[in-house]
């Protein structure tokens, strides 16, 4: 199991650590070994049966889903994946519950050293966050149980350490480090002075922008107060000056043309389509001319094979991610164009995880663009590649 490397790390008993180790190992088994097994069952049984009956191959992810969902292996894969997902959070609750007071006092001690935190009383959390336990995380990002609560942030940070079985980096910032570093390498003349991370949760990928562009003023916004409290303490514990503000990405409270980079990671797929369109328009508005909007996301269904589209859409059907498939059915180019970006200034990158592939392969990708690789891009398994899209203003 991955141990958090900062002061908010929870004390855990030997048994609690062992349970977390087990869940990480279980997830690696389901998402590597069983995912490969399910592909073999598809190729050897389900797909030939489909072709025999329909005299053609499946045309999209939903057809694959319909064909495979009665299969026993799919049922075991899915049932075990749900079990593992639930166990991720359940493995965190006991040490977290025991450490809640200590967590608050540590956060209090760390507050306001370099960065800042602005929360708003009476802030309205959108229903797509307040009414759902996304990815089966009880309490979601915004669950609050007492004043100044940051437990939901701790649940996410510690849970992510178990969930990612090492694929998100030692500081859970592989996405941020891979992408912010890629931008620095690919565009050496680009010197952003103000950077904004939308839907930043605990700021685990926000900090990478400060690492890669130390002179920049870096902001993170989110609707969930407990995550922002935690994000602030976490950034301070890591010695990074980041400014966190409670704000809805659909209604940014920043002036026009005020940022050089507007970034998000694993965020848009948790927002309904209407909200995504508003977020894109707001990103366009607050970007300076010459600025870059970049969203790290799961690859769109249009760029995946029917089987791989089905594989990623599993979350939408079974992991409380109702907006995941609708988002992935959208055209990223279309989203950027409708927000006001010039179609010629659209960008899309497939970036090797710097943690998984190492510096050499990752650096090479900055000069040799890659296409979406069906079974590696955006899929949390060995050999992961991060997908991102956006546009220059």
């Amino acid at each position: 199991m991955l141990e958090l490397k900062h002061e908010l790390k929870l004390s855990k008993t030997r048994d609690e650590k062992a349970r977390m180790n087990f869940v990480s190992g279980l997830r690696a088994h389901v998402l590597n070994d069983m995912a490969n097994g399910m592909r073999t069952v598809w190729d050897g049984d389900v797909e030939p049966e489909f072709r025999r009956r329909q005299k053609r191959t499946p045309k999209d992810g939903p057809e694959v889903h319909k064909a495979i969902r009665g299969n026993e292996y799919f049922k075991f894969y899915s049932s075990l994946r749900v079990t593992a997902q639930d166990m991720v959070w359940q493995s965190v609750f006991p040490p977290l519950e025991r450490n809640r007071e200590a967590l608050k006092s540590t956060a209090g001690r760390l507050a306001g050293r370099k960065g800042s935190l602005k929360l708003k009383s009476g802030f309205e959390v959108p229903r797509y966050v307040s009414a759902i336990d996304v990815h089966l995380m009880a309490g979601n990002y915004d669950g609050e149980y007492e004043p100044d609560d940051l437990a939901a942030g701790a649940l996410y940070d510690n849970g992510l350490a178990v969930f990612s079985f090492g694929l998100m980096g030692q500081n859970l910032d592989d996405i941020g480090q891979s992408i912010a570093g890629f931008v620095r390498l690919k565009y050496p003349g680009f010197k952003p002075r103000k950077i904004l991370d939308l839907g930043c949760t605990i700021g685990h990928n926000t900090g990478s922008w400060k690492d890669q562009f130390p002179a920049a003023e870096v902001h993170g916004i989110d609707v969930a107060a407990p995550c922002l409290r935690y994000a602030h303490a976490r950034a301070e514990a890591q010695g990074r000056a980041i400014h966190f503000t409670q704000m809805n990405a659909e209604l940014l409270e920043f002036p026009d043309a005020s940022f050089d980079v507007v970034f998000s990671s694993m965020f848009l797929h948790e927002v309904p389509t209407k909200g995504i369109e508003k977020i894109m328009a707001e990103a366009y508005r607050v970007l300076k001319p010459g600025g870059l909007m970049l969203h790290m996301e799961l690859p769109p269904n249009s760029q995946l094979s029917p089987y791989d589209a089905f594989y990623l859409d599993w979350d939408s059907a079974y992991n409380n991610e109702p907006f995941y498939k609708p988002f992935r059915d959208l055209s990223p180019e279309g989203l950027c164009r409708r927000a006001g970006f010039d179609a010629n200034k659209y960008v899309q990158f497939v970036i090797p995880s710097v943690g998984w592939y190492g510096e050499k392969v990752w650096r090479e990708a900055a000069t040799q663009p890659r296409d979406v690789d069906n079974d590696k891009t955006g899929r949390l398994s060995d050999g992961i590649l991060w997908y991102c899209f956006g546009a220059w203003k």
């Binding site: 190992g25 749900v82 007492e146």
Partner: protein, 145 residues
């Protein structure tokens, strides 16, 4: 440094641990999903015991005795950690070996219906000549929804 639980217990509302909207079930009878969940949780506890035993053994070997709280505080060496990681993988593989049987059957059929080196064109030609029919046995057949 880490957050420690030395602070006095404060009476506070517990965090909710149940998932709003419930959870999905995959088998014809949801009881199967529930039993599977129990088996996995038991598996987790079996693993937890093994890790605890490994820690005890490591300490015994090192000191020839135990002191209070020593097992909870124990950190494995990098070498022990690697050994445990390999054993854990083996344990998980053996737990789900029964599912691997279906994959092996499918793999044999993959070899039959789709030549490994096939390009899209070759597989099309092959499938025209010889329509692939998956062998089905009552044991393997599963109900479609």
């Amino acid at each position: 440094m880490e957050v420690s639980d030395s602070a006095e217990a404060v009476s506070r509302k517990s965090m909710r641990r149940t998932i709003r909207g419930g959870r999905p079930y995959f088998f014809g009878d949801p009881a199967i999903d529930k039993v599977l969940n129990m088996v996995v949780v038991l598996g987790s506890e079996v693993w937890t015991l093994r890790e605890r035993l490994a820690a005890l053994e490591a300490i015994q070997i090192r000191q020839g005795g135990l002191a209070a709280g020593e097992v909870d505080a124990h950190e494995f060496s990098a070498e022990d950690e690697a050994k445990l990681a390999a054993q854990r993988k083996e344990f998980i593989d053996s737990l789900f070996r029964i599912l691997q049987e279906q994959v092996e059957e499918s793999r044999r059929r993959v070899a039959k219906v789709t030549p490994r080196v096939s390009s899209a064109v070759t597989s099309k030609v092959t499938s025209k000549k010889k329509p692939p029919v998956a062998r089905r046995t009552p044991r393997r057949r599963s109900r479609s929804r």
